[in-house]
């Protein structure tokens, strides 16, 4: 941890943001028909679970949830990936014709999202892919934007934004490290 840490969102703030995003997802897709949530490991996967719970509370009926590990689809593989184990991709259903809501914790350069979209395409042809993120911190390097945003946070490139999870993988707070 660096000495200069600011809390951007607390637990209840995150919860309200996720509830609002759930409503927006339902509004945009006119319900849960054909909607599936796919979280990007690891933070996005935890948030996808939270969104699914919130959607069930609002609408009733379960939304399928999957997770995707983007290690194999990175564009910077030489620089760090092969030292570390590859995470698991768990999509227990076909994405053919589904409205996929891709979930990530922090949207930054957009490269992770690009990799995740490539990964999804290997599991069928979705009707569409929408993007939900808890934090958009700017600095895009690819033409990618989020459909659902918890909070826009202007940041400098030297800063780091992190979503902190507890041991049950529930979001606790969002912090900005300088």
């Amino acid at each position: 941890m660096t000495e200069n840490v600011t809390v951007l969102m607390d637990e209840s703030g995150i919860k309200r943001a996720l509830t609002r995003i759930s409503h927006e997802i339902l509004e945009r897709n006119k319900g849960v028909r054909d909607v599936v949530l796919i979280g990007i490991r690891s933070g996005g996967a935890f948030l996808a679970e939270e969104l699914a719970k919130a959607i069930t509370v609002i609408e009733g009926g379960a939304v399928p949830v999957g997770s995707v590990d983007i290690t194999l689809y990175r564009d910077d593989i030489k620089s760090h990936a092969p030292h570390l184990p590859v995470g698991k991709t768990e999509i227990g259903f076909s994405l053919q014709g589904k409205k996929v809501v891709l979930v990530d914790d922090v949207l930054f350069t957009g490269r992770t999202i690009r990799a995740a979209m490539d990964a999804l395409m290997a599991h069928g042809r979705p009707e569409c892919i929408q993007l939900a993120v808890l934090i958009d911190r700017g600095h895009r390097e690819l033409p990618i934007r989020a459909d659902f945003v918890g909070r826009n946070v202007p940041t400098s490139l030297k800063e780091n934004v992190q979503v902190v999870f507890n041991e049950q993988n529930q979001p606790l707070e969002v912090v900005l490290e300088k």
């Binding site: 194999l72 689809y73 990936a81 698991k88």
Partner: protein, 310 residues
Amino acid sequence: MAEFKHRNIIALRDLTKGDIELLLATAENLREINSRDIKKVPTLRGKTIINLFYEASTRTRTSFEIAAKRLSADTVNISPSTSSATKGETLADTALNLLAMKPDIIVMRHAVSGSHYHLAKKVTCSVINAGDGAHEHPSQGLLDLLTMKDKFGRLDGLKVAIVGDITHSRVARSDIQGLTKMGSHVYLAGPPTMMPPAAERLGSVTVCATMKEAIQDADVVMMLRIQQERQGKTLMPNAREYSRYFGLNPENLKLAKPGAMVMHPGPINRGVEMSSYVVDGSQSHILKQVENGVAVRMAMLYHVCGGELE
């Protein structure tokens, strides 16, 4: 979990327990790709892999090639009949010529034990051992470990019997290295003519006088192939006699634990080291081994790409 720092994978003897755990964990997670409709990920796009096989192989070469292609690498196969080795070129010269074409990984099988260490000194790309003489066959060792781990959820404390031609078996050497590092107990049995002098020095293993002793209460029975190409006619009187004393059949399999796994690195001499009843029986995991081979080799190719110069 540990980071993988090796540029080459030549022997399980050279890897730590952490390295092996990492390779198995990656293989478990890569396995899902092999059951997709589109069995390909772009991870090793632009990498060139040369499969240099000085000895005959169907399973291992195909498995390495499929593994490379599923990761989007480009593969070239070179076999002895079509290579300049038949024209008298040395391994070192072949290696330098191949290196001039800028491969990223050379996967080699060679009849001479230790030839990969020689190769690795000559080249700057990664070297993966697909079997060298009677030394090691690390990808087979890893896929055996993965297949056992799938069934038992652990390797620690398992009793594994390895039966057959230990002297000539590189599979046995890799299995012994891998299994003992992961905490399994290894028991060896085979005809005295096929047991290397001081076999107990292969690792912390128990050398048994009879097959019965080795497979008694075993969790896993690993049968080795009689390597007719590597031995003269003097090591066993005939296949029938071998089968009688060191063959696995439904009768002696009952000595092992109920539901014990039966494994074999292939190709099988049916009726010699194993009866067909066992090969095709419910305890046989032979085809599962082959299936896991692709995932394990994907993990090896993936991790050596991030390795550092040793």
